[in-house]
Structure formats: C-alpha cells, structure tokens
C-alpha cells in the first residue's frame, strides 16, 4: 500500500473519532510541553551559571594555599606555608603570563565624613581590573607599586560610592578604611550580583596594605591569566614548577578555569537531565494513554480488521496501519506541545527579558523525535494485537 494511502486512511480514522483522538493528543502534548519547558529552563540555568563564571575570562588559573581542597575554603583558613605577594610577583616573568592578581579578602568599616558602611574589602594588585574584566567607570584602578610599599589608594565599587558619596564626586576624596586614611582614585562600573555576592559592594586597596590591615602574611588566592598560544595544562605546569621552586614542596593547589567550568558543567548537565526527566513522567502517562486508546480501538474495530484481512491485507499492512495511527497521534501531540511551549517561552522571554531562555531548535527537533518514539513504542502492543487477530473470528463479532 502506498504511503500516501496509509496516511489517508490513518487520518480518516483519527478524524472519525475526533474527541478520542483529540484527548489522546492532548495528553501527549502536555507531556512534551513539560519536557520542553523544563529542559529549556535547565539549559537556561546552565547558561546563566556558566556565563557568570566566564565573566572572568577563560585563560585563567587560580592558585590557593593548602593542598586539600576543602570546598574552596583553602584560602580562608590559616596556613603554615602561606602564599606570599613575592610568589605572585615571581609569576609575572613566566612566558605567556599576562596578568597576575594576588587576592586577600575581608570586610570592614569604610568611612567618609560621618557616613560609615561595612563592606567587603579586597586587597589586590594593579592587574585585577584587566584580568577579571571589570570596568573602571571613572578615574583609574590601583597603580603598580613596583615592589615598594604601596600608597594608601583605594578604588570603590559602584554601590559603595553611591552609599557614601551619593551624587558627589568621589575621586580625590579621602576615606577611612579600617581606620586608616586612603585616597579614592577610581570608581568601578556597575557589575551586579554573582551568585548572591554583591560585586558592587566592595572597596579595593593594595594587597600589601590589606595584609597588614587584616594582620596576616598569606594571600588567599593568586589568579594568573595567560596569553593564547599555550594549553591550559602546560601553563598550569609552569606555574606549579615555579612555585615549587620557591616553596620547596607543592603546598598549594591549582585549578584552571577549564577544570572549574567542566566540573560545574557536568553538574548542571545532570541537573538539566534530571529536570527534563521530571517532565518525562507526564510523557509516560501520555504514552499509557495512547496504548489504552489504541487497544480499545482495536477491540472495537475487530470486524473492520477482519474485513481488511478478508479482502487481502497482510498482517504487516494491518500492523503498519495501527502503528501509523499511534505514531501520528503522538507526533501531532508533540507538535502541539512544542507549539504551546514555544508560545509560553516566547511570552516569558518578553515579560522577563533577564531570564536566560534560549529556544534551541535542536531541543525542539529532539522533542519531536521523542514524541515519534513514544508513539512507536506505545503503538507496538496494540498493532501486534490487531495484526494477530483471526480474520474469521473477527468478522463473526459483527
């Protein structure tokens, strides 16, 4: 039988019992809709998180004191073998090294006149703004102190400036950081939040001054960015050797941006899959629906099937017919589901532009294929039943 005729007959059958077909289609549509919406959501979250982390650039290596990575808290705890500013300086001369950023973090009171604000204080070097791709809105970032003890200069985050200075000019003004007098030389552009951490509520001061402010000798982290032309592993190895040379042992830990993103990506991929799987539950129930309706249909149309066989249809053709019905039901359901979810996502994207929604056509095609698969699997049982009917008995049931 020609495929066109298969389709014609199948369509006619489904149209004849419109209500029934419609409801079955609806069930699949809901399932597919759920899967698409949830998977897109998961993909969106993944994108969002990755983007947030990538904002620091991709060719970056982070060094923390201590060997055991206690969940990234390595830098927070004290250490007997601290990472020193001198270590950071020594890394500058490595080939391909672009920027080196020593980091110490704490919090303290920032005062201007009568206004006081408790914020995060980051002690760092002149390379930070370039390395982390933070924009300086006004003035400039901290200068390179060239080995000598740095001047008491500070750079304010956007929010700190607003809170302490309002609309007043801040450049050149004197503030107190942890009781000490600093001159403001720069204001950072607004950056927003990153995973709960307010990037605008920070004051940047030279790292050596921060170390004495917080009364510690060791850095919490050293970031190294490097130029293209060398693999991440190779660069990491260079850094490692240089530091071992200085410390005698490997009492620090290295992580490349790639590694960090990879492990995060893996987690997020699993998460997306899990979320999509949740939607799949509805799809399973939808598939049960197809099976039930199709089997009932076969039962009702026994006489019809007997007739078809009597006029010469082979088992195969009968099976194809019923399989085709199931697949068609599922496909139409899939299309409806995709359409509805597309509309919903579109509406959502318009309403909340900030949401990282990306309608990946690949996912949509996948969803369509999924619905076809569902139809195929659900249709097998009823189709085989239909094909297996004894024509004589089937005709007698009229």
């Amino acid at each position: 039988m020609r495929s066109a005729d298969y389709s014609r007959l199948t369509l006619r059958t489904l149209r004849a019992s419109r209500m029934r077909s419609g409801l079955t289609i609806l069930g699949i549509a809901i399932g597919i809709c759920a899967v698409v919406l949830l998977t897109t959501l998961g993909a969106g979250i993944r994108l969002y998180v990755l983007e947030n982390f990538s904002q620091f650039g991709s060719r970056i290596i982070a060094i923390n004191p201590g060997k055991s990575q206690t969940g990234g808290t390595g830098g927070l705890l004290a250490s007997t073998r601290p990472l020193l500013v001198a270590d950071a300086d020594s890394l500058r001369s490595l080939p391909y090294a672009e920027y080196v950023v020593p980091v110490v973090q704490g919090s303290g009171a920032i005062e201007f006149g009568r206004r006081v604000r408790y914020t995060d204080i980051i002690g760092t070097g002149s390379d930070m703004a370039s390395a982390w791709r933070f924009e300086v809105a006004r003035g400039r970032f901290l200068p390179d102190s060239r080995g000598s003890y740095p001047q008491p200069l500070a750079v304010l985050g956007h929010k700190v400036k607003q809170e302490l200075f309002a609309e007043q000019n801040a450049l050149g003004q004197f503030i107190r950081v942890g009781g000490e007098r600093y001159r403001v030389v720069g204001i950072m552009a607004e950056k927003g939040q990153m995973l709960g951490f307010d990037l605008d509520d920070i004051v940047y001061i030279p790292v050596q001054r921060a170390l004495s402010l917080f009364n510690r000798t060791g850095l919490m982290e050293i970031d190294v960015t490097y130029r293209p032309g060398i693999a991440a592993d190779a660069m990491a190895e260079q850094v490692r050797q240089r530091l071992i040379g200085r410390h005698g042992v490997e009492d620090f830990s290295l992580i490349t941006q790639d590694e960090m993103l990879q492990s995060m990506d893996r987690i997020l991929a699993i998460l997306t899959l899990a979320i999509g799987g949740l939607g799949g539950i509805s799809l399973i129930v939808g598939a049960i629906g197809i099976i039930t309706i199709m089997v009932t249909s076969v039962q009702e149309r026994r006489a019809e099937i007997g007739l078809l066989r009597a006029i010469g249809a082979t088992r195969r053709q009968v099976m194809r017919l019923f399989l085709g019905e199931a697949v068609l039901l599922a496909l139409v359901g899939g299309c409806v589901g995709i359409l509805v979810s597309g509309l919903a996502l579109g509406g959502l994207a318009l309403a909340i532009p900030a949401l990282p929604i990306q309608l990946d056509p690949f996912y949509l095609l996948l969803a369509l294929a999924l619905s076809a698969l569902v139809g195929l699997i659900s249709g097998v049982l009823p189709a085989r039943r239909a094909a297996g009917l004894n024509p004589v008995l089937a005709l007698q049931s009229e």
Binding site: L76, S79, R81
Partner: protein
C-alpha cells in the same frame, strides 16, 4: 442507590474491561507514585540538612569577625575583619550574665606528621568547651584539658581518620605527632561522627587555641561559639554581646552574630520550595491521567448507550446516571492512587534500604495532596462525559443511538 450496590455495579464493569481499567489504574498510579517519590526525596533532604543544623543546638550563638551592610544575604563567612577577635574578647563575653560557656576557634591547614608519614590536615585550635557545645565525644582518652585560654600546651585530640591514616589504627594515646613545626602529645581520639556543618572533624587535629595561635602565627579568632544558659536568652543576649564588643573594639561594631535559626531559615525555605516545585511538576502527570480517564469514560458511555437507556427506563434519573459514571471514574482514580501509594512508598523504602543515609520522608501534605488531586482530576474530567450519558434521551439510547447518530 446504595454505595455497596454501586461499588458492585461498577466493580463488575471494571473487571470486565480489565485491560482498560488496568491501564487507567497504571496511569494514575504512575502520577501518584511520582509525586510521592519526588516529594519524599525533597523532604528527606530537607530533614537531613535540618538535622545537621540541629546538632548545633539552639542555645548557641556564633560570632564571626567582620560585618556586611547588605544584610539578608550570606553572612561574611569568608574573609577577615579589620579588627581581630581576641581571646580577651572571648573572656569578656564569658563573663556576661546569661552566658554559660564560650569556645574560641582558630582553624588552619598544615602538614601533620607522624611515624614517618605526613599529610596536610586541618588543625582546630579551641577549648574544652567546644566539645560540649558541639556535642562531640571522645571514644578514647579525654577531650582537651581545662586551661586558661591563653595557655599553650603541647597536647592534642585527633579524629578517627587521623588514627587510620598516620597510625594504621594502632594505639595512639600518649604518642606524639608533629603539626607544622611543633609537637604535641595525643590525649584523645574523637568519636566517629564525621561531618558537622561542613567541617569534617574526622580528619582533623584539635589543639588548645593558644597553641594554634602560635602555630599559625595569628592572633585573631576564626569564630567564637557562645553557649547561653537557655535558648530563651538568646534574643536578649545578642545586643549585649554586640555592645560589649563594640566597646572593646573602639566603637566599631565589626562582628556578626548568627544563630542556628537564621541559618536554618534560609535552607529550610529553599528546600521547601524545591520540594513543592518538584511535587508540582510530578503532579502534572496526574492531569494527563485525568485526560485518559475522560477519554475512557467517553468510550464507556458510547459503548453502553443501550444500557443507559435501560437504566433510565427502569427509573434511574439523570442525576443517578451521572453519579454512576462519575463513581466509576472516581473508583478507578482511588484504586490507582492506592496502587501509586504502594509503589511510591515501596520505591522509597527500597532506596533507603540500599543507601541508609538516604533520608526518606513523605510530607503529609504531599500524600494527601496527590490522592486528592487524583480524585479531583477524575471527577473533573469525567464530569462532562458523565453528563453526556445522563442526558441521553432514553428512547434513542435504547436503540443504541446517541443524539449525533440520528
């Protein structure tokens, strides 16, 4: 019609069409089981986290150096403060009325060496009060001795994993190990109660706080635990502690106080929301099951047209016919829910048996919600088809015709 008769009437129908009934049951069961499974896991996770926090005890205040203006977010768990928390501060707090005990904390990482082996481990400098406040026991030897806070003694208590890693499970009491450039004598081994709020005590070495300060060459405390006489005093004590430190820190209020409740609150909300969301998504499948019920009921109505005509001839009113078909759908939904409940709980228990740390606890609202939803969905989706049945003109129905087929 009496309920018992109704059940019998419908029951015979359902068993007659057993495949159809079975599949519809299955559809509902999958939905209900999914809801139970997912909410069970979510709630279990929440309970697990809460339990962990509860070990802290609700009579404890945690003091952190540093303070952030943007409150409501994560407390400054990271980083330093400009002014150190000192042992002097700790002593002063201890003398506040209402305070039962304080435990200072200095934490760091260093090389720990013994028997020719060395590993980088966490070293915790604290006082014996820490053991009582944090409910940590030693199963060999004793906890840290009572000392004035500023006295350093070369003694230590080690976690069970340390005993394993450095000493191969041999007897350790009385032996020496080296932390960084200092030696200390082992006087106790911790109970194997592993993780507590993120800090894995099992592979750590606990020494007196003054020794730790010397070891890491730092004066500032990482944390200060404050235990109050009883939980009710916490609120009154908070401002007093803040005032005290402010006075001692030259007018700077550069500390943060956390209670177990505040930490709990954040996690609790997040996890509850998660559980709800996950349960809701699973519940969508119940709607799909409802659609199947509607479909089946429609088919049932069209197949039993002459029966409907007969029932009406015998005196069944429209309402009764309606109720008949509705109850059929409801019965299927309830049976399906029951099956789903069995499957759901079964899977959860299986998971718990395979992984005992896997907490399982289905919240009551989820259980009742799932069953109610299944029943409600069945009623809603079967309503219209049942009405169609009820409205069939008896004369036509007896002929086996519905309106449309005239």
């Amino acid at each position: 019609m009496r309920t018992a008769d109704l059940l019998r009437f419908n029951g015979r129908l359902l068993t007659g069409q057993w495949f159809r009934t079975l599949m519809t049951l299955l559809a509902t069961a999958v939905g209900v089981a999914a809801v139970l499974l997912l909410t069970g896991m979510g709630e279990g996770a929440r309970r697990f986290v809460l339990n962990e926090f509860n070990l802290l005890g609700n009579d404890v205040l945690i003091m952190l150096p540093g303070r952030k203006e943007t409150s409501g977010g994560i407390p400054p768990l990271t980083g330093e403060g400009t002014r150190d928390l000192t042992l002097g501060d700790a002593e002063a707090v201890l003398h506040l009325p209402g305070v039962r005990n304080v435990a200072p904390l200095v934490v760091g990482l260093t090389q720990v060496e013994a028997e020719g082996r060395n590993r980088e481990m966490m070293v915790v400098g604290t006082s014996p009060a820490f053991f009582t406040i944090r409910n940590i026991d030693t199963h060999q030897g004793q906890p840290l001795p009572q000392l004035p806070l500023d006295r350093a003694e070369p003694v230590c208590v080690i976690g069970p994993k340390v005993q394993q890693t450095l000493f191969d499970q041999q007897q350790v009491l009385g032996r020496w190990l080296r932390t960084g450039d200092r030696r200390c004598r082992i006087i106790g081994v911790l109970d194997s109660r592993g993780v507590s709020l993120g800090i894995d005590m099992s592979e750590s070495v606990i020494i007196p706080v003054a020794s730790a300060q010397q070891l890491f060459n730092t004066e500032g405390l990482f944390r200060l635990f404050i235990q109050v006489q009883h939980p009710g005093l916490i609120e009154t004590l908070k401002p007093r502690v803040l005032d005290l430190i402010q006075a001692r820190h030259q007018g700077e209020r550069d500390i943060t106080l956390i209670t177990q409740d505040s930490l709990l609150g954040v996690f609790d909300d997040i996890l509850q929301l998660l559980t709800l969301a996950v349960g809701a998504i699973a519940a969508i499948s119940l709607v799909v099951a409802g659609i199947l019920i509607m479909n089946i009921t429609l088919i049932s109505v069209s197949q039993r047209t002459s029966e409907i005509g007969l029932l009406k001839a015998l005196g069944a009113s429209e309402r009764e016919v309606h109720r008949l078909f509705l109850s059929e759908a409801l019965l299927m939904a309830l049976l399906g829910s029951a099956t789903g409940v069995v499957i759901g709980y079964g899977l959860l228990l299986l998971g718990h048996w395979l992984w005992p740390e896997f907490p399982v606890s289905v919240p009551l609202w989820a259980l009742l919600g799932a069953i109610t939803l299944a029943a409600a969905v069945a009623l809603i989706f079967a309503w219209l088809p049942a009405r169609k049945a009820a409205r069939l003109p008896p004369v036509l129905a007896l002929k086996g015709l519905t309106d449309a087929q005239r």
